[in-house]
């Protein structure tokens, strides 16, 4: 954003608050546009992946080429849908729940480094900030479930509370492992470190284990199958958003796909080199070249992990509630601790792993 403020100063002679507001307008506009376009694309992609895994074609008609406009049509349709608020629901809480759910994940996107210098703000608490702000979403879901005053919603919300809250522990512990190696919370420092050394996934077997633990527990954090108990279509109708309709309902989906993006992006940035290409040193490149390539590389990595998330969704059956809880506390938490301590020991003795 500093770069933008400087640019506005040079081009239009803007200064102070005016330049800051202009930079904010550009940042907000681009992040909003990105979230909207990304989630439409991700929903279309999810349908296509699901269809092809089940040997179907998926949407093929809308828009011509492979039904690319399906999500756009859906968004327009949702805008025209009646907004039903049940009489028994607490209207105000019911009303603010989608906003609470969406705000947290949306604000989490500001620390994402898309390429060199393409970042809204480089907070010095980057990683910590993302997990802190992403957990606001749980509060929104509990508000939604409770305010709906429907039994399905209540079950969904309580399950979500128990599940997301439990899986936050292995997520955070697994995130500590790369933080311990790099010694920083800034997401940009991970990119520089991996450009100078090697991708963190190859640093030691414990880093790879932490990546796996993070990926599994982030699936649970995004309520994706096999951990989609809060939504569980076959038992809870659609869980905490049973009573929601139209635009309000779509915000829960927007949030789900955005948090999938954040989880996949954290995996790509912390373990898989971020916007760095493998085997290519891009540090000396001109920004005009490094910037678009960085964005493309990072998005390619991120979309690969999003694809894996979708692949798992359409491959694995849903777990039971008690299995979800024992998976979190009895397997992921102890192994995340083992990975953390083993990495510290590994680092203390300065052991290497692969000749990279």
């Amino acid at each position: 954003m500093e770069a933008l403020i400087g640019l506005f100063g040079e081009l239009f002679g803007l200064e102070g608050t005016l330049a800051l507001s202009a930079a904010y307008a550009v940042c907000i506009g681009s992040i909003l546009g990105f979230v909207t376009v990304y989630s439409m694309f991700a929903i279309w992609m999810e349908r296509k992946v699901a269809a092809h895994i089940q040997v179907r074609m998926g949407p093929m008609v809308t828009g011509g080429w492979h039904g690319w406009a399906q999500s756009v049509a859906d968004a327009v349709k949702l805008l025209f849908k009646e907004d039903i608020i049940p009489t028994r629901a607490n209207a105000f809480m019911f009303w603010i729940a989608p906003a609470v759910v969406f705000c947290g994940v949306f604000a989490g996107l500001i620390v994402v480094p898309f390429a060199v210098g393409v970042q809204v703000v480089d907070l010095h608490l980057g990683v910590f900030f993302i997990i802190a702000i992403a957990s606001i979403e749980v509060i929104g879901v509990i508000i939604a479930g409770w305010a709906s005053n429907s039994k399905y919603s209540l079950f969904g919300a309580v399950r979500e509370a128990a599940q997301v809250v439990s899986y936050e522990i292995p997520t955070a512990t697994a995130l500590l492992v790369p933080i311990l190696v790099v010694g920083s919370f800034r997401l940009n420092d991970f990119n520089t470190w991996q450009a100078e050394h090697h991708w963190l996934i190859f640093h030691s077997p414990w880093l790879a284990m932490a990546a796996l633990i993070f990926f599994i527990s982030s699936l649970a954090g995004c309520k994706r199958a096999p951990f989609d108990l809060p939504e569980a279509e076959s038992e809870l109708v659609s869980g905490f958003h049973t009573e929601y309709s139209g635009m309000r309902f779509s915000f829960f989906f927007l949030e789900e796909y955005t948090s999938m993006f954040v989880a996949a992006l954290l995996t790509a940035t912390l373990w898989f080199g971020g916007f760095n290409l493998p085997f290519v040193d891009s540090s000396a490149w001109h920004p005009a070249l490094a910037m678009p390539i960085g964005i493309v590389v990072l998005l390619a990595k991120t979309f690969f992990f999003i694809f894996v998330q979708m692949w798992l969704r359409w491959t694995l059956p849903r777990l039971r509630v008690d299995q979800v809880m024992s998976m979190g506390y009895k397997y992921l938490v102890p192994w995340a601790f083992v990975a953390l301590i083993a990495t510290a020991v590994w680092d203390y003795y300065g052991w290497g792993w692969l000749p990279l």
Binding site: Y24, I28, L32, L79, F80, E82, D83, I84, P86, T87, R88, A89, P98, A99, F102, C103, G104, F106, A107, L109, V121, D122, F128, F129, W146, S150, K151, Y152, S153, L154, V158, A161, A162, V165, S166, E168, I169, A172, L176, V177, I179, L180, V182, G183, T242, E243, G246, M247, F251, V321, S326, Y329, K330, P334, F337, L340, I341, A344, D347, Y348
Partner: protein
Amino acid sequence: MYLDYHAVLVFLITGAFMVCTPLVLGMLFRPKNPYKEKNLPYECAEDPIGDAQIRFDMRFYTTALIFVVFDAEIVLMFPWARVFQSAPSKGVALVAGLVFTTIVFFGLIYDWAKGDLDWVKSFQNKRRVQD
């Protein structure tokens, strides 16, 4: 540096605004035709019996308690992981981390042995002892 955090506030407000805008805009287009049956909570076409805002199973309470303990512990581990590389003596940092994690780990094992991590707490063994 700390002023960077005003961006968080701005984006939180924008997020809320972005949720509200389509909802308000939609008011111009969308139909509004509520009736009694439509506004009932959905329960597969049955009339709902009673309220959903009831007291709920306390099993979730244990989970929440365990979470709070572990989350506080994770928060304490964050600064440790951050400064580990730049610690004046890595050995001391390693031992401190080991001691702390071992204590927490014993806590986890205690919870596990007590059966607090099980979703359905089993009383079978205790009953056998009483018989």
